[in-house]
Symmetry: D2
Subunit: 349 residues, 4 copies
């Protein structure tokens, strides 16, 4: 029962089969293959944006850092939430790829950026002493498992425009957000003002595949050079693109995400209902952040439930559901917690 | 009949099957999985070096650039052949990952470095005006399809030692070189003085998998940070390691390489024997560099043979054989060339 | 009456005369001159540290960024106050020179770092996902014009040691801090745990001269290469060193600083005593941060007093005194403010 | 008798006096001062280009590297002569400031670039595997003491245009070249196609002052940020600009250069006329490259003549004349060489 992350899973069957099928025969290398062309077409359909440009890469860190490298100068400032993956979990990849741009961390509930704070931070345009306001990056779903509504994205975008900032979205769990909001992908991205999206797939049914999606093609001019120079242009491009093609076909990506979200809702609801247990953040996508009493934590660990304890704050646990999380495992976690919870309560702890 | 590169192929069956098998179940992420541990063990066996450290990455450019980033300071000089992949074909990846180190190009027959030239170039130790001699990178097999003998590697290594340079080997086609030389992998690497190897697999039967192998573990201290920061640490590490495990098992890697080399020998021999045709470089591994008359080139292109014409010099063609090159295709190329060749000769061209 | 900054001044007479004298004759270039050797000796005396290494540079930004480049890897974290010059006013110089290290901003009264906050932030040693805790930089005197006591420096140093961080001090106004504390320079630096100091001189009587002082010489190994590569090694080294030599002779640096501090105390005391006026921060060195009513601000601007209004917060003014600030100018500012202040009060504003 | 370099000298009297005069009073900091404005005006007059933009910096390395940082992307290629200062003597500064661009070295007599070689090297536009042709940098006068004629510059510029390269000129000894050619500065720069010039002054009468001159102002958009971020924006801008203002006034810069050139011609002529002695390169500016027999070299060293022996090739010596080289010293060198030369000849060596 592994809830440590949605990246402990393998690929879902359709993706794996597509990869196997794509293995046959010779193909043009370095992204000139047909799979890659079809992935871009599929993304154009999904996002209802016939001129978007899409570039497959293998990891989310690469997607984010390469996207930012296309958007900001080395003396630029990138505003993001202080808990953002780009700020905390990428060992400085954005700094490397941008040539030393500065990530400026902002606070905000649910790991969301507050437009007012963004406006207050983005100062100093044209003053040579200060790094230059260049971009803002938001995460959808956020590091706290929350989801920006279309209006919330639009509000960030409006501030970004007024401050001449590019708007990037880290969509490592974009599918979960779209599924949760039940909106058209266009509505939560370019129609709301997002200019570049790291479209995640690895965590939601692929093995290693993301796409950097430029909704404004003129922003992509330097991307291909940055990608190659970073060693992220695969010679056998179909490895990435065959995964993405299958992932996008027949709404598989949304189906996977809906399942994961549903499992998370059940898990969060079940745990939160137990005596002495609570949620640290609302369950809006596929992550569950709980406040469980130490005996419950210990008991779950004892029976082999894997989750993260303490990283997001003392006393906070994170459980992540994935495309293949089994309802019986979810129920087993709740039951195990309930058993202890009862004893805890009985003991008056 | 695609001889454009050994990267137009898919994975060989055993590698693909291993990837499919590895997909099952949950696994620790970010390289803490069992496949990755087993790959390191397998490489220790292959190289008879129980303390080597190995790190899977997805592309050869990443392997080379990350290896160099571990070896040289930003104000360092890296000596390499002027035709080296790191100098010509990686869009500046070594410069990015090292923080701006300088690649100093050297000449040399067969795209091999000449120790005397290396010694002459590696000057200025301790003089602040000059980039500091830091590393030398040789390619095995070389960009001209040639192979360094163990003695040749040892001669470069001796110069490197005397100039206090680290010795890196770009082994994108390392398997082909080992197969061609019929030596123990140890003999052509650490026993000859190589300290870090980019162990290629993508071109020889994998989909996207290389390993950076440190024969001196103390040189690897910063590697893991560089890799993560470059977005080259896969969350689902088994994607890379399952390929490499199968590739290394039962000498599959050498078997694939031997086949490719044999096909190249046959192709090179067959073409060179034709009237008016010659070889630009000896066929020592799996690449064939030819000097074919324009009518032959045109005729081969007309019947759909894919190869590279002109990139390595005017009038020079490159054909690359792979793990899955078919003998009948090789013979078909020779026949097609022979047919034209006869006509060319008859016409007195 | 220019109180905008201590960098609006020229050099003090002794420094200028030394520069003129040094101009005669030929001298070895690139720092091999005698002035540079003597400056290092003088700093060894001043700091009672016979093995320190000192390197002149022209600007404070260069001093800070080059010092940090010697201390941290590109994937390192540098902790500093969020108002620190390196974080706010150097347009990303530390990021450039370190190859992309991350500045992690901390809060704290008087622009001082709180050891407890430093300890809480410096996490993740050895975890590849996170930038690696590498250094802490404190500013003496701080951006709020405050001064760390020896005990306060030692407390930061103790935390730094426990977290394996190098300790850098940005001493753009180091002289003012030493004069204010009336301590031996050693006591507030290496004896308290400082490992590298940006020893400022430009703001306190030089034209353009700073020195990077390594109290632990082994940390300076790469400095000379970083400096050259940054274009900060002057061919005519005496330009910088002659200034520094005169600056250090006969305690001129402390005399200048004592004067500036005394002027600031008088200015701060005089303004704070006025009705409706206050200090935003205590006057501990040569900067005065005030909270003056708008009519007072306007009146001072009207009579041509130059100072900074609003940058450090709404309603906050900064006045900086220098080695050549005239007491009569200070009194004139106080009188002008008092005149308005009286009217303000009379008007019941 | 120091002929080691033109950077062993102090400033010429007018420059030093201007610096002393400029020291008085308060001035706006960070380049907002009046001296800096006047320097730009003076350069507009000198170059007959009313819209040029000029930025003072302290060192030639900074001027070159910052100029290139404004012109090329991090994945760009900069073509230069293999002996160019930027390639050999700046410890990788261009690589640092451009974020890792690649310097591609070319051969050529007299350290001049040959347009045909440039055209042959500047390949691969738009191909992601290759660094992108971005700029060419020529040195005037060259590292071999030679001078590009206006036609030669124009020929390089024409190739640059056809290959979409920016044209930068490293003018560390620009004054000597202009004096030697006796042309208008405009003729040898923007009228011939130069877009950005590192206008040197340090070697020809200043202490530490250069100017980066953009003949096309739109290319300067990012320069100010690069300069600040590199720590090369002086707070007391008059330090640099007062020097440059005096240097440009009344053709002082050309007068100094004419003197240095005349001394070099006499020295070269005198030495070349001696038996067994020759010139390695023609004396076109203020540098003299000789081929002196070892006994002559030894004798000169014995009597305290300073020059560089061997760095530019075995058996090659370099003597540099400056604004203050004395004719009697030149004659003394020739006499000392002649004395030995006679003995050498007599001995039949």
């Amino acid at each position: 029962m592994n809830f440590a992350s949605d990246n402990v899973t393998g690929a879902c069957p359709a993706v794996l089969e597509a990869l196997v099928r794509a293995n046959d025969g010779a193909a043009l290398s370095y992204g000139e293959d047909l799979w890659t062309a079809r992935v871009q077409d599929a993304l154009r359909d999904v996002f209802e944006k016939p001129d978007l440009l899409a570039f497959p890469v293998a990891t989310g860190t690469a997607a984010n850092a390469l996207a930012l490298a296309s958007l900001v100068p080395p003396y630029g400032a990138v505003y993001c939430h202080r808990e953002a993956h780009i700020n905390v979990d990428e060992c400085g990849a954005p700094e490397l790829y941008t040539g030393g741009a500065k990530l400026v961390p902002l606070a905000g509930e649910g790991a969301k950026i507050v437009p007012h704070d963004l406006a207050a931070a983005a100062q100093g345009h044209g003053v040579v002493h200060h790094v230059q306001p260049a971009a803002v990056s938001i995460t959808q779903a956020t590091e706290a498992g929350c989801v920006y509504s279309p209006d919330e994205v639009a509000a960030v975008a409006e501030t970004a425009r007024s401050k001449r900032l590019r708007l990037h979205m880290d969509g490592a769990r974009f599918a979960n957000a779209v599924a949760a909001l039940d909106v058209a992908p266009a509505e939560i991205t370019w129609q709301a003002g997002v200019e570049v999206l790291s479209f995640g797939a690895t965590k939601n049914g692929c093995l290693a595949a993301e796409a950097v999606v430029f909704f404004r093609p003129e922003l992509a001019e330097t991307f291909a050079f940055h990608r190659k120079r970073a060693g992220h242009l695969f010679s056998k491009g179909r490895v990435l693109s065959a995964q993405l093609e299958a992932y996008l076909a027949d709404d598989l990506w949304l189906e996977n995400a809906r399942h994961a979200n549903a499992m998370a809702r059940r898990l969060g609801g079940g745990l939160a209902a137990l005596p002495g247990c609570g949620l640290w953040a609302p369950v809006e996508a596929n992550e569950v952040f709980t406040l469980l009493p130490p005996p419950v934590v210990a008991a779950l660990q004892r029976v082999g439930v894997q989750f993260i304890d303490g990283f997001f704050g003392p006393g906070v646990q994170r459980f992540v559901c994935a495309w293949n999380t089994q309802l019986e495992d979810v129920e087993a976690v709740i039951s195990a917690a309930a058993a202890v919870g009862g004893r805890v309560e009985a003991a008056g702890v």
